[in-house]
Amino acid sequence: MPCKLKSIPGSTDFEGKSGVEITLEVKNHVGNVLIFGAEYDGKQLVPEDMALGRVKLRIARESRTLKLVFVFTASTMGRGELRESDGADSQFMRALVGHEPFQAIRIVGLP
C-alpha cells in the first residue's frame, strides 16, 4: 500500500485524507530512538510510562499539529528519522536528532 501522507510543497507540513489511519515509526541511525510521547488532535498516542517504536493516528479534519517527544540511547548525540510506513512502503518525514527531542509537525486533513 502506498503511504497516505503527502508533503506540502514549500513547507515541512504534510496533508492526507481525514479519517485515514496512518502509522509513524522511527528508524535508528546512531543509537536507538523511541517515541516517548505523541499528542495529536487532543489525544495521547503513547500510553503513560511507555516509549514506543511506532504509533498510529487517524488524520483529523483540517489542520492539526502533531507534537512528539523522542528519547535516545545516545542522548544528545542520537540520530534517527521519523517515517510514515504502510506495509512495504515507507517515506521520510523528519530527521531526528538527540539535541532536538521535541518535534512538531503540521498535518492538514483533507475532505
Partner: protein
C-alpha cells in the same frame, strides 16, 4: 582566598554572561542544517535543509535559545533570589556504627542522610548519623534549578555549561561524615512501661568534638559501562517511559507552548516562504546563509510575540524543560549502563573512647545479572598514633579486613516495595588488640571495668581474629525516598569481648537524589 572569590564570581555570574548567545548559527539545529546546505548533502525525498532550518517545530530548542536571549538576565536574578531559600548512604564498612559489612560501589548522586543503630565488630553500640554527599551535588543542583545550562555537545556556543562528562567526573568523588547521636538519659524515671526498644529512644544531637564519629573520602577508580548491549537496550526500553515521565511530559508542554501557536498562523507561512527564498539565494556561501538566518530570526520574533505575548517566559520555560530532559536522560543512561565499579575509600574514625584510626578500603562492586550482584572489600586499618601492642612493641598497624557480599533483588513485595536480600561474610585479622581509653568523666557506655588500678588510662582487649556473617534485608517502601536496612549478624567474637555474639541492626536512609528528582 583570591581563587575562591574568583571561582564564586564565575559560578554566580557565568550564567548571566554566558547563558545567552548572540550567534544563533552555533546552536546545533541551525549549525547542522547550514552545514548540510553548504556541503550540498544529498537529501531524502521530502527532506529540504532550507525548510528544516526555518522550521520552528523541528528546531524548537534553538529558536527558544534565540528568543530567550534578551530576557535571561532578569530571569536569572529572579530565580537566584528565589533559590536562596543501589547506593551507599550510611557509613561505610570501615566506619564505626555502620550496619554494612561491605561497602557498596555506587553512592548517592547528590546527598543522602542515614541513621544506623548497632555496630558490627565494635562492642560499644551506638547510633550514628551519616551524611554522604557527592562532588557532583552542587553542579547538579545548579542545573536542576536551571541556574546553569546543561551542555549540548553539538552546540558551539562559547559559554559556560555543565554537561554529562563534567558531572561524570565529579560523581566519582564523594565524602561522608558520621556523627554519634547520644541517647538521651531518662531523668527521674523508673517507669517499667517506658519503651525498651532502642528504636524508641529519643536522640540528642549535640555540638561536641567527640560527636564526629568518622569522616571518609571515596573515589571511583574504574567503572565499566555498557551502552550498546542487548541487555542495556532491553532495560532502557523498559525503564525509559517511567524514568522520563515527568521530564518528557514537561518538555511536550513547554516546548509545545513555545513553538506551536505560531505554526498555525499565515504570517509564519509567509515568513517561511520569504526567508527560504533568501537563504536559497545565498547558495552555499556560509556567511550569506548565516546573515540571512539572522534576518529571518529577527523578523520572526515579532510574529511569535504577536501570537504568544509572554514569549520570553515561554522560551525560558521550554529551555528549562530541555535542561531537565537532557539531564534525566543522561542520568538514566548512566544508571543502566554502569556495571562494575572499583572504588577506593579512606575513612578516619574518631571514637570517643578509643584511639583514632584510619582505614583504607578497596571496593569492588560487580553486578552478575539484573537482580544479582557481588561486592567485595579489602581493607587495612592503622592507628593514627603508635600504640603499644601486646608484645610490648609500638605499632600503628591495627587490623586487616576482607569481606564479600552477595545481593539478590526480590522485586516488589506488596506495599513494602522493592526488597533486596543479601548475605555477607567478613574476616578481620587483628594485629593489635582493641584499646579503650579510660576517662572517668566520660565512661564507656555499656562497659564496666572491675579491678583496674586507679591510674589506668588504657585497657587492652583480648586479641583475636573476627569472623562474621550477616543476613540483611533492604526495604525500599514504594513511592518513598527512604531505605530501611534490617540485619542480623553473628560473629565469633567482637573486638572487645572474646565470646560469640548475635546482633541485630536497623537503619534508616533518606536519599535526597529522589527528592531532587521529584522536584523537577
Amino acid at each position: 582566598m583570591r581563587v575562591t572569590i574568583a571561582a564564586l564570581t564565575i559560578l554566580l555570574f557565568a550564567p548571566v554572561s554566558l547563558y545567552a548567545q548572540s550567534q544563533p548559527e552555533e546552536c546545533a539545529h541551525f549549525k547542522e542544517n547550514i552545514d548540510a546546505i553548504v556541503a550540498r548533502t544529498p537529501a531524502q525525498p521530502n527532506q529540504d535543509f532550507v525548510l528544516a532550518l526555518l522550521d520552528v517545530g523541528a528546531g524548537t530548542r534553538c529558536f527558544a535559545e534565540y528568543a530567550a536571549e534578551r530576557s535571561l538576565l532578569l530571569d536569572f536574578v529572579r530565580r537566584f533570589e528565589g533559590s536562596r531559600t543501589d547506593k551507599q548512604s550510611g557509613a561505610g564498612a570501615g566506619a564505626v556504627g555502620s550496619t554494612s559489612v561491605v561497602s557498596q560501589g555506587p553512592v548517592a548522586r547528590v546527598l543522602s542522610v542515614a541513621t544506623e543503630y548497632g555496630a558490627l565488630t565494635q562492642s560499644v553500640n551506638g547510633q550514628v548519623i551519616t551524611v554522604r554527599g557527592n562532588a557532583a551535588g552542587l553542579p547538579t543542583a545548579l542545573v536542576t534549578q536551571n541556574l546553569v545550562p546543561y551542555c549540548v555537545p553539538m552546540d558551539r556556543f562559547n559559554r559556560f555549561c555543565i554537561g554529562t562528562s563534567t558531572l561524570g567526573i565529579l560523581r566519582r568523588f564523594s565524602f561522608a561524615v558520621s556523627f554519634n547521636a547520644k541517647a538521651q538519659e531518662a531523668v527521674g524515671t523508673n517507669d517499667a512501661a517506658a519503651p525498651a526498644s532502642p528504636a524508641g529512644q529519643p536522640v540528642v544531637f549535640e555540638a561536641s568534638k567527640n560527636q564526629l564519629a568518622s569522616a571518609s573520602l571515596r573515589v571511583e577508580l574504574w567503572k565499566q559501562k555498557d551502552e550498546i548491549s542487548d541487555a542495556f537496550l532491553k532495560k532502557w526500553t523498559a525503564d525509559v517511559g517511567t524514568a522520563m515521565n515527568t521530564a518528557g511530559a514537561d518538555l511536550m508542554k513547554k516546548a509545545g507552548d513555545f513553538a506551536t501557536p505560531v505554526m498555525d498562523t499565515d504570517d509564519y507561512k509567509e515568513w517561511r516562504t520569504a526567508h527560504a527564498a533568501a537563504i536559497r539565494a545565498a547558495g552555499t556561501d556560509r556567511e550569506r546563509i548565516v546573515a540571512a538566518l539572522h534576518r529571518a530570526l529577527a523578523d520572526l520574533m515579532p510574529i511569535m510575540r504577536n501570537v504568544t505575548p509572554a514569549l520570553d517566559e515561554k522560551a525560558l520555560a521550554s529551555l528549562a524543560s530541555y535542561n531537565t530532559f537532557f539531564r534525566k536522560q543522561d542520568e538514566l543512561i548512566a544508571e543502566i549502563a554502569e556495571k562494575s565499579v572499583v572504588a577506593f575509600e579512606y575513612t578516619n574514625s574518631r571514637p570517643a573512647s578509643a584511639p583514632h584510626t584510619s582505614n583504607a578500603r578497596l571496593i569492588i562492586d560487580a553486578p552478575l545479572t539484573a537482580k544479582d550482584k557481588l561486592v567485595a572489600n579489602l581493607a587495612v586499618t592503622w592507628f593514627d598514633t603508635s600504640q603499644i601492642n601486646t608484645d610490648g612493641q609500638p605499632t600503628k598497624y591495627r587490623d586487616a579486613q576482607a569481606g564479600i557480599q552477595y545481593e539478590h533483588g526480590l522485586g516488589d513485595i506488596a506495599i513494602i516495595g522493592p526488597v533486596t536480600v543479601s548475605a555477607a561474610l567478613y574476616y578481620q585479622y587483628q594485629h593489635a588488640p582493641s584499646l579503650l581509653t579510660l576517662d572517668p568523666l566520660k565512661p564507656v557506655p555499656g562497659v564496666t571495668f572491675v579491678g583496674l588500678p586507679d591510674d589506668a588510662n588504657t585497657v587492652f582487649a583480648t586479641k583475636g581474629d573476627i569472623i562474621l556473617g550477616q543476613v540483611k534485608l533492604l526495604l525500599t517502601p514504594s513511592e518513598s525516598s527512604v531505605k530501611v536496612p534490617l540485619a542480623v549478624t553473628y560473629s565469633n567474637r567482637t573486638e572487645l569481648i572474646d565470646k560469640p555474639a548475635w546482633r541485630a541492626q536497623i537503619g534508616v536512609t533518606y536519599d535526597f537524589d529522589s527528592l531532587f528528582a521529584r522536584g523537577k
